[in-house]
Symmetry: C2
Subunit: 402 residues, 2 copies
């Protein structure tokens, strides 16, 4: 059971193939290659729901296709917790072929970039170009770190509304997103019902449940417990809380997939049969988790992870609005929501409740179940099953709300 080297660089020990040179942060920073990102600098301070004010806000975003003359073909995609604006390749700037929803968005795809003007913005509090904890605080000239205020999905959506203004989009044809992205979709319907023609909140919830909060909380604890966390002020240190972030990522990954998938994929196969009776021997499923855990700190910032997880926990569409029904009463357009059979992180009953609520008062919200072993990630992975549902929905929106 020999592992950590006490007092040394953060390392989970020689038995694991973790690097000992994790970056301090995986955040994109000014001066890095912008790739296909565009940047909007808001012209005034952004007042946050919690009472704080961000003096300067930059929103990083990408677009595909073009806004038509009537301005009625714009679709906003809201990314999930660890996503970013790079939904698919072919945006402006540097061409990169793959994005997190490449099979759903593109020329001729369900979200057809030949037909629609497609927009995705990195969320406020994130780490891929939009203002977040790793950004420079104009008041101090140094990264915010522990000084970054808590943002909510409502703040995120307000920043996206500024982007819509900038892009000349008065009303989105649709706002779509899964998981945390679906929370923003619901907030768009609550906050700007006239600016949204239809909504597609997928694999998401009206309010985070106690179990969802709990899973989020243990990930935060794993980060806070990292010896290099330093309360969030780690940007000028030799190391950041990358090991803690990796552990948080592994915890989350378990909830993004399902046992069914892993039984088929890994079973109980050990990585190395000779290590079977070693305390630090690993099964293949562990090596899979470690593989993804150790990749994560290269592309994400621990403070953004903390802030956005907490934003998800704070998600409650009815908070301060007299409950969810009142919150969404002013949105009268069509909706669609989708569950994945094996999703135990955002279980089907949450989307069923959402669909039922959005079907009240003569409205319509179709509800679909994707049969899949991919758990919560089903909305990202099962593009062949999701695409026809979106195709049909968008066709209906075009006709019914024309």
């Amino acid at each position: 059971m020999s592992m950590n080297e006490a007092g040394g660089a953060p390392s989970l020990g020689s038995r694991r193939d973790w690097p000992d040179d994790f970056p301090v942060t995986g955040a994109w920073r000014e001066g890095d290659d912008p790739g296909s990102r565009h940047f909007l600098e808001l012209q005034r301070p952004l007042a946050l729901e919690g009472g704080d004010v961000l003096d300067e806000v930059t929103v990083a975003y990408e677009t595909w296709g073009a806004l038509n003359a009537r301005g009625d073909n714009a679709i906003l995609i809201c990314h999930a917790l660890t996503g970013d604006a790079h939904v698919t390749g072919g945006g402006g700037g540097t061409y990169t072929p793959e994005g997190w929803w490449s099979r759903i968005v593109g020329p001729g795809a369900a979200i057809d970039t030949d037909r629609y003007f497609v927009v995705c913005a990195n969320v406020l509090g994130g780490c891929q170009g939009t203002t977040g904890p790793a950004s420079i605080n104009p008041r101090s000239g140094r990264p915010y770190g522990s000084g970054f205020p808590q943002v909510t999905n409502r703040d995120i959506v307000r920043s996206q509304a500024c982007l819509a203004d900038e892009l000349g989009v008065e009303q989105w044809f649709s706002v779509i997103g899964g998981s945390m992205g679906g929370m923003a979709v619901l907030e768009w319907a609550a906050m700007y019902p006239d600016r949204v023609r239809s909504i597609a909140p997928i694999a998401t919830t009206l309010a985070a449940s106690p179990q969802q909060i709990a899973w989020s909380a243990v990930g935060r604890l794993a980060i806070a417990n990292d010896q290099w966390f330093n309360g969030g002020d780690y940007y000028d240190q030799q190391h950041g809380p990358a090991n803690g972030l990796a552990v948080a990522r592994e915890i989350a990954l378990i909830h993004y997939r399902s046992d069914q998938e892993w039984v088929e994929r890994f079973g109980r196969e050990p990585l190395d049969r000779l290590d079977r009776f070693d305390p630090w021997g690993r099964f293949q499923v562990e090596a899979y988790l470690d593989h993804h855990g150790k990749k994560f700190p290269y592309r994400f910032d621990a403070n953004s992870y903390l802030i956005l997880n907490r934003a998800m926990d704070l998600h409650d569409i009815g908070r301060g609005r007299g409950g969810p029904a009142k919150a969404l009463a002013r949105f009268t357009g069509p909706g669609i929501t989708v569950s994945v059979t094996s999703d135990f992180l955002y279980p089907a009953h949450q989307q069923a409740e959402l669909a039922a609520l959005l079907s009240q008062g003569g409205r319509s919200c179709s509800y679909h179940m994707i049969d899949s072993v991919f758990g919560h990630d089903g909305f990202l992975v099962e593009h062949d099953k999701l695409a026809p549902l979106l195709d049909e929905f968008f066709a209906k929106v075009r006709v019914e709300t024309a």
Copy 2:
């Protein structure tokens, strides 16, 4: 977001009510009050499944009631991961009224100590008196720490068989246990089929699934990532990996309960409404997790947690025996198994498979479902629902195997 004090004592920060004086280990150590424990020192070295040998082994145990003249009234209870031999009060030595199964075991209870001779031993690798990583290694005169070999449920059962010899129990009337305890129950049936008249493996599995391994693995990572872990050699340090152990405990607790229970119990209530938009503000469910997380290092040892979690991952009743059916073929007695509806850690299909297998070849294994919101912990909490099932089963065993 001000929290950790860099370089100081392990602490999750001022916003959490965690102590900064966690013990180095929560293990019971020689010289501490033995309470109602008895100790058996094995008279020869114990060879382990993995090839290592423990030169000296002590088994800490408790008993209730008395072995009858025919020697046919002994019940062995196998505890779960963080349990110990103190199933209930009223054992030998210091009287303590509460145990982890007080409502199931006692005079007149389902496991009636007026009728049965009841035995429970702390598992090998544990930390409550039986030899484990915090014990003194006779070869070095210092605690084993990183030098403690990986044990398996088969090793645990072998040590329990030595205890049975010592106590004069040739055949157990029944061997019963839930979760990890249920794994030992199955191993008793596989290893010593003639010494077991009936078995009651509850809320357990024939083999740990990849998802179960994954949940176990992230808890281990949280411990390994603690700055005070030092590869397992922390007993002579100022601090142990208590924060990491607490995080592992919180991760596990989520899987021991259910969202249904927490929706009813906590909903989305914040601990303090003024902290709502603070990144480190907590919901009540988080305060509940932290309460249990911070208690845990006072009664458990991080190395034992690692060793026993890995032992559970290694659990596969069919390993090296030609599969589960062959492994259990020699056990012909009656069995009972029980699922809890909301248990997603050891889901019902695992007990259904177990019951089906133990019903092959003219054998009988009854299968029951307890309707409960208490998740995996249902087998500990729902004593009013479990007790009648055990009553009925034991009556059947008395008649059918008389």
